[in-house]
């Protein structure tokens, strides 16, 4: 997994490897269990560089990215 922006403050890292997750829903559930603050956070989810809004099956080696919104200029 790749973690971007201030989500790294929650996850304390910009990369993360998870095993035994079959889809994005179970992945997010697992992450929220480990990092409860993620429940309040806003982010987009991308699987293998394509944004997804619905539950998506993860293949072995899929790279999931979590990107928060930011507005600075």
């Amino acid at each position: 997994m790749k973690i971007f922006g201030q989500l790294t403050d929650i996850i304390k890292s910009n990369t993360l490897t998870l095993t035994d997750t079959t889809d994005t829903k179970s992945l997010v559930d697992e992450l929220k269990k480990q990092y409860p603050a993620l429940d309040q956070a806003k982010y987009i989810l991308a699987v293998d560089k394509q944004t997804v809004t619905e539950n998506t099956i993860l293949k072995d080696g899929s790279i999931v990215a979590l990107l928060p919104p930011f507005s600075g200029g």
């Binding site: 987009i44 560089k49 600075g72 200029g73």
Partner: protein
């Protein structure tokens, strides 16, 4: 391009393969609006003016302050306290007197946004807050204008081209990524989080580059793609974006609806959540004096006979806003998703005039709650 000075000025880019005099002519005929003459806007403006964009608009109501200078490198100490739009305009005029620069020393609002944006071909978002970003996004969707988005926070930067018509795919806009604006306290801004000065320099310059590519037709612009950059590890990550037809409902469908939006309110931190659970809803039902609206499609089940309500399908909510008379309104749908969107939509119209609630978990959850108890 017959002018000798003009030829000499742009000679180094005109000799580029596939650029030529034709490319230069396209730039000279182009009209680009840069909203925000700050960290992102300054470098974008400098390169656009230097490249010979024929008409450049600058919107900014702010004045230069000392803590701007670490990243807004166009300004000097002597500019402190002066209008950014006017100073940037004067400085760019010194850089390239052959182009037209139009300063708008005013705040972008729902009243002036459409009439300003309408005058330009390409819009560059260099603002620093969500309220204005969502307003610009929606205005560009309404007016069919390509929007070159850029944003920075701490060490991360993003660039994307939204709402580009004429590509193979459906144009993506910012609401396809984040349908609803975050509340003020959910995301830190630059003032709170900090930003490395050179980062908006990189991202703003990228925005100018994308504008030049769009205008000249060169290369492969970031249409429907989000490019991200981390200044600490130099990692670049690019995402393909997909349009989400549902988010279109959140965008006002025309000038009248746009002018009624309250973007500040959408982004202000609400003290009280507008989502209510089954118990709170029952309390409101008992108290009476509320208007209840089902935003589902006419044929959707389960039917609701337990309380008085009327049906306004989601697509018609905005147009039917005038028919909502009560001060307290509860909206519901199947699962609570659409009604939440409807509340956001209506909040933009009514502001704080009405108390608007969305039934959390929808009618399905409410019915379950009553079967169980």
């Amino acid at each position: 391009m017959n002018d000798k000075n003009s030829y000499e000025r742009y000679q180094r880019q005109v000799i580029l393969p596939d650029f030529g005099e034709e490319g230069q002519r396209k730039l000279l005929n182009a009209k680009v609006l840069v909203i925000g003459a700050g960290g992102l806007g300054c470098p974008a403006l400098q390169y656009l003016a230097a490249a010979g964009i024929g008409t450049i608009g600058i919107v900014d109501h702010d004045t230069v302050s000392l803590n701007n200078l670490h990243r807004q490198v166009i300004y000097s100490v002597s500019d402190i306290g002066l209008s950014k739009a006017k100073r940037a305009s004067a400085i760019l005029n010194g850089l390239n007197p052959d182009i037209k620069i139009v300063p708008y020393d005013e705040q972008l609002t729902v009243e002036n946004a459409l009439s300003i944006i309408e005058r330009f071909d390409i819009i560059i978002d260099g603002t620093d807050n969500f309220a204005t970003r969502y307003m610009i996004n929606d205005a560009c969707v309404i007016l069919d204008k390509p929007l070159i988005y850029g944003a920075v926070s701490q060490f991360d930067g993003q660039v994307a081209i939204f709402n580009f018509q004429g590509g193979d795919e459906m144009p993506v806009n910012y609401r396809d990524l984040f349908p609803e604006p975050p509340k003020e306290d959910e995301v830190l801004n630059c003032a709170e989080a900090g930003v490395l000065g050179v980062l908006p320099g990189i991202i703003g310059t990228m925005q100018a580059n994308e504008a030049i590519k769009l205008i000249t037709g060169l290369g492969d612009p970031l249409i429907n793609r989000l490019w991200t950059f981390n200044a600490l590890n130099n990692h670049v990550y690019e995402l393909r974006l997909k349009a989400n037809p549902e988010t279109r409902l959140l965008i006002p469908d025309g000038e009248v609806a746009f002018e009624q939006m309250n973007y500040e309110w959408l982004c202000s931190s609400a003290t009280e959540s507008f989502e209510i659970d089954a118990e709170k809803f029952d309390e409101l039902l008992e108290n009476g004096k509320i208007e209840i609206i089902d935003v589902r499609q006419p044929n959707e089940t389960p039917e609701v006979n337990e309380f008085e309500h009327r049906r306004i399908p989601m697509q018609q909510v905005e147009a039917s806003a005038d028919s909502i008379k009560s001060d307290t309104v509860v909206l519901f749908c199947q699962t609570g998703k659409r009604s939440k969107q409807a509340v956001i939509l209506l909040s933009g119209i009514f502001g704080s005039d009405k108390k608007l609630y969305s039934l959390k978990g929808g009618i399905v959850n409410w019915k379950n709650h009553h079967q169980l108890s």
